[in-house]
């Protein structure tokens, strides 16, 4: 037996060794990554980001060179720290904390020590860099905004965060990424692709040549330029008109779905979010919780549409055959739609659709809505039929435009009311506020503008989009595909006539322009806020929608002004001015322009703030 001990031990040890090797080499693949960390230095070359042009070929966004000071912590040896601090204008404490932060990230990989030097700083540092081991300058390109408007359209650029890196392997710490707006939407097009060089290193971090003769190396590819559908002048003018107000403007070219202007107010100069002051400025914008300049109201703000929704009520009434253009309802400054339930109105008389639209008669559209719902045996079927028509206008759903922000809005259906009023305890009159765009109907300004475009087109719309062209690429097919609504084209005639009447004898007559044949509709939207569970009524929002010219619509527009009293007070003049600017290239109604530019709603917004403060106090 004694002769078997050694062979046995040899066999056991061999099996143990082979299993361990199998584990290290085949099963556990972390060592491959670690070996790359050890031996490969990856040098990135950052390409220039694609330029952004407006629809007329005007350059909006270009690039400027920027220089980051990089540090490789473990190579920092024997440097005159004080001289460096003085040169870079940082304190010793800042220096130490930056260096230790970089060391924690990785002692052997480069970290950004000081981002985005000014040209003067760069010039000063470049000469002296050789005195400071472990520091070097990395060139990158930063955005250079040629205009000071359109911040909400462009979005901004920032360094990637951990989440970006985790979710997309392209990004490495220190890379830049587009956030919001077209910078985010067209990130992959705009960013190009960075060049990579793999350099083999030895254990002293000395470079000993390219890895495998450079077969894995790539060169940087410049990002592709994009052209937006935005009319830069219109955009700038809109932002100017919206100063000291909150809200938004969306202008669309109905024939193509191209977004001509997308104004968000308040806004900010896109240049604020570039350079060394970026994070300070960003924090300021981010912390403005009342004006919310970073919040894209035109895309993400959900409001009751108010009276412009009557256009849709009328169209659905015609399509469902419950009214025709001669149908009249009598109104005596309102009507009872149930026992003790009164809906007020502005005027009294017998109106047909044409006049009711011009006068924005609540009674007419409430009665029409009632007929639509009651056409069906069950109110559930009625509301679902109504819902289906509205869906065909892109309401209650994401429109599918090419911007990364937005909300669905809301169009209620029978399920919704069943939840609120179980056992069918609801009918047309329960939901009567829907008829005039209050109630449970919620839309974004963008959706509202799209409805106007569909009306201008008499029944169809193209998915609104902001991209006109991409270098080397085609734009998404869905932007050139017609979306047909469920409303027959012939039914649009009386509604459009009514909208035209608005400017002649109706609620929009004060902003009419002789040279322009406009169609529009005012809106005054009740709104409330809840503070500590208590409901407060705030000053109404001012809304106006329009398209022009009537016979060959070139622009459809929706204007939404928060707490702007009523439709014709702020939204209507702004709409009129925007249309003048776009179609006439000059402002005919200088009186309106002066009033709009000088007017401010700041006192209204202060009231809201005051309300919050009071509520806060009473709580204490």
């Amino acid at each position: 037996m004694r002769k078997f001990l050694l062979p046995l031990i040899i066999t056991v040890v061999t099996i143990v060794i082979l299993s361990r090797l199998f584990y290290l080499q085949i099963i556990d693949d972390t060592y491959i990554k670690k070996s790359e960390n050890n031996a490969l230095k990856i040098v990135y070359e950052y390409p220039e980001r694609g330029y952004i042009f407006d629809r007329n070929g005007k350059l909006l966004v270009a690039n400027q060179p920027s220089y980051d000071i990089m540090v490789i912590p473990r190579e920092v040896t024997n440097i005159d720290t004080l001289a460096l601090c003085k040169l870079l204008d940082v304190t010793k404490e800042e220096f130490d904390s930056k260096l230790s932060k970089a060391t924690i990230y990785s002692p052997r990989l480069p970290s950004i020590f000081l981002p985005q030097l000014s040209k003067a700083e760069y010039a000063a540092f470049q000469e002296k860099i050789r005195h400071f081991n472990g520091f070097y300058i990395q060139k990158r390109s930063l955005r250079d905004y040629q205009v000071n408007h359109g911040a909400n359209i462009f979005g901004y650029i920032r360094q990637v965060n951990d989440l970006n890196i985790k979710s997309n392997p392209y990004y490495r710490p220190g890379d830049l990424i587009g956030i919001q707006g077209v910078e985010e939407q067209y990130e992959e097009v705009l960013r190009g692709s960075k060049g990579v060089k793999y350099i083999q290193r030895d254990r002293f971090n000395r470079e000993i040549g390219s890895f495998k003769n450079g077969i894995y190396d790539t060169i940087a590819l410049k990002g592709d330029d994009i052209t937006l559908t935005i009319d830069s002048e219109l955009q700038a003018y809109g932002e100017l008109l919206m100063q000291n107000k909150r809200g938004g403007i969306v202008a669309i070219e109905p024939k193509s779905g191209e977004i001509l202007a997308l104004i968000n107010a308040p806004t900010y100069d896109p240049g604020l979010l570039v350079g060394r002051e970026r994070s300070k400025n960003y924090t300021k914008l981010y912390n403005d919780s009342l004006a919310k300049p970073l919040y894209n109201r035109v895309l993400s703000g959900e409001y009751s549409p108010g009276s412009p929704f009557k256009i849709l009520t009328g169209l659905i009434g015609l399509q469902e055959g419950v009214i025709n253009q001669h149908t009249t309802f009598s109104c005596s400054r309102g009507f009872y739609y149930g026992k003790g339930a009164w809906m007020g109105c502005h005027d009294s008389g017998n109106w047909n659709l044409h006049v009711a639209t011009a006068k924005s008669c609540n009674t007419f559209f409430a009665q029409t809505y009632k007929r639509i719902i009651e056409k069906y045996k069950k109110p559930a079927d009625g509301i679902n039929a109504w819902n289906k028509h509205l869906q065909s206008f892109g309401l209650g759903q994401f429109l599918g435009y090419d911007l990364p922000e937005g909300r669905k809005g809301h169009i209620p259906d029978s399920d919704y009311y069943d939840r609120w009023y179980p056992n069918g305890a609801w009918k047309s009159t329960t939901t009567i506020s829907n008829s005039i765009g209050q109630g449970e109907v919620i839309m974004t300004p963008m959706q509202l503008a799209n409805v106007v475009a569909a009306v201008a087109n008499k029944g169809y719309y193209y998915t609104p989009h902001i991209i006109k062209g991409i270098e080397h690429h085609k734009i998404d097919k869905k932007f050139v595909t017609k979306n047909q609504t469920t409303i027959d084209p012939k039914h649009f005639e009386p509604v459009i006539e009514g909208m035209n009447e608005v400017f002649k004898t109706g609620t929009g007559r004060s902003v009419a322009v002789e040279q322009l044949d406009m169609c529009g509709k005012t809106g005054t939207v009740e709104n409330f806020t809840r503070i500590n569970g208590k409901r407060y009524q705030l000053t109404d929002h001012s809304v106006f929608v329009a398209f022009a010219p009537k016979d060959d619509p070139k622009i459809a527009i929706a204007v939404f002004i928060e707490n702007g009293y009523w439709g014709s007070r702020w939204a209507a003049p702004i709409t009129s001015l925007m249309v003048q600017k776009y179609l006439l290239n000059e402002i005919v109604r200088k009186d309106l322009e002066t009033r709009m530019l000088e007017g401010s709603l700041q006192s209204e917004y202060d009231k809201v703030l005051q309300l919050y403060k009071l509520a806060e106090k009473s709580k204490k």
């Binding site: 050694l6 061999t14 090797l21 290290l24 080499q25 670690k34 070996s35 254990r203």
Partner: protein
């Protein structure tokens, strides 16, 4: 019968395995030590150039060994042994210090490490003693003499080089094969297991385990004569040992030895300091995958991340550049050699030959096992070369000597009866 030539009787299979390993070793050293600007294979300024010289130098040595009369080795075993010991004692006076270890002589620019050769001389004397004695190691005197032959060089080397000294423990396999009572082996085995266990597990748990095992043994082995006192003494003795491990660990082991044990256990390891070697070694081997990066293409090898890569850590280059496939081939070559040598040893008619052959296998195997398990994190770091593979004239020539003396003895067996 002297006319029967060595060429005809030498075990060519072993010779073939030997050359395969030496050549594979040289190519690996070439890859591990190639400078950025490749030079001639014979460039003496380069590690691979010198290793090639050493390999060429083994040819006359092999011829010399094979030409000398086989009885020569047995006859003068004691003299070799004494020369061996003197060469180690001489280190105290003439030795050259490299990295804190004084185990080199520097002669004409080449370092000679006498401890490598002492393995051969010790094996020869041990074989001679057992062969002359013809006992079965069952008397205390025999055991004492045999263990003393091993202990003297071990203790002398221990002063300079703990790792090399530990290798002599492998001769316990030889003694066991020749009749040493098995409790020696068990004692050694249990000591090692307890030592490791005491470092990893709480003493209370180990003692509880010991008591349970002792009780079960006492209860189930009714047929043997059980003296409860022996059980109690054994239990107390082992418990005492367990408690003394901490003391040994804290007071006897040197800081770098403690580090090596900690690294293995993965406790508070700084990968830039004491944990660096093992970590880099595992990275290099682990990045090999199935077939490796290819000859001369290993990034870790080229970048020199693994320290001592051409000597003790040479196998990491095999792992990285040839992957699991290449590493397995090398391991299989070694294991094949071991089994062949055991087979040859068992077939010797003379006890001297058999014992010596067993010594050769034991030494080769313990080097192989310590070296490779050290690289893959299964054994503490001790500086042990991989036979025939690692760079170094002393080690290559000493292993060649060790092996070919046995091949000469083996080739000569036909002449003996």
């Amino acid at each position: 019968m002297r006319s029967v030539s060595v060429q005809k009787n030498i075990d060519w299979l072993t010779v073939l395995l030997y050359f395969l390993l030496v050549i594979a070793g040289w190519f690996t050293i070439y890859s591990a030590s190639l400078p950025a600007e490749p030079t001639s294979m014979f460039d003496l300024n380069q590690i691979y150039g010198r290793q090639l010289i050493f390999i060429i130098l083994t040819f006359p040595i092999i011829i010399l060994i094979l030409s000398i009369d086989a009885k020569f080795y047995e006859k003068y075993a004691l003299i070799f042994y004494i020369i061996g010991l003197l060469s180690i004692i001489g280190l105290f006076f003439f030795g050259k210090s490299v990295k804190g270890q004084t185990n080199w002589y520097s002669i004409a620019g080449f370092g000679i490490q006498p401890s490598e050769f002492v393995k051969t001389t010790t094996a020869l004397l041990l074989a001679k003693y057992l062969s002359d004695n013809q006992g079965h190691l069952n008397t205390f005197k025999e055991q004492l003499v045999a263990l003393t032959i091993i202990a003297i060089p071990t203790l002398l080397i221990l002063k300079h080089d703990t790792g090399s000294a530990m290798l002599f423990a492998s001769l316990i396999f030889v003694l066991y094969r020749e009749g040493l009572p098995s409790w020696y082996l068990w004692t050694g085995f249990i000591t090692v297991v307890l030592f490791i266990a005491a470092l990893v597990v709480k003493p209370a748990i180990i003692i509880a385990t010991i008591i349970i095992i002792a009780s079960l043994h006492f209860y189930f082995n009714k047929s043997i004569n059980r003296n409860p006192f022996i059980y109690i003494i054994l239990a107390i003795f082992t418990s005492g040992f367990v408690f003394s491990v901490d003391y040994v660990y804290d007071n006897v082991l040197e800081p770098h030895q403690k580090d090596r044990i900690n690294v293995l256990l993965g406790e508070n390891v700084n990968l830039q300091a004491e944990g660096y070697n093992l970590n880099q070694s595992k990275i290099a081997i682990g990045s090999g995958n199935w077939t490796g990066t290819g000859f001369l293409e290993g990034t870790q090898t080229k970048g020199g991340f693994v320290p001592e890569q051409h000597t003790d850590y040479i196998f990491t280059t095999v792992g990285e550049e040839w992957g699991f496939a290449g590493a397995s081939v090398v391991i299989v070559l070694f294991v094949f050699l071991f089994f062949r040598l055991i087979y040859l040893a068992e077939n010797q008619k003379k006890r001297f030959n058999r014992v010596y052959g067993y010594c050769v296998v034991s030494f080769l195997f313990i080097h192989f096992a310590f070296n490779i398990t050290m690289l893959i994190g299964l054994f503490p770091t001790i500086g042990v070369p991989l036979p025939f593979f690692s760079y170094g004239g002393s080690s290559l020539i000493a292993f060649t000597l060790l092996l070919f003396i046995f091949l000469k003895l083996d080739a000569n067996k036909i002449n003996e009866w």
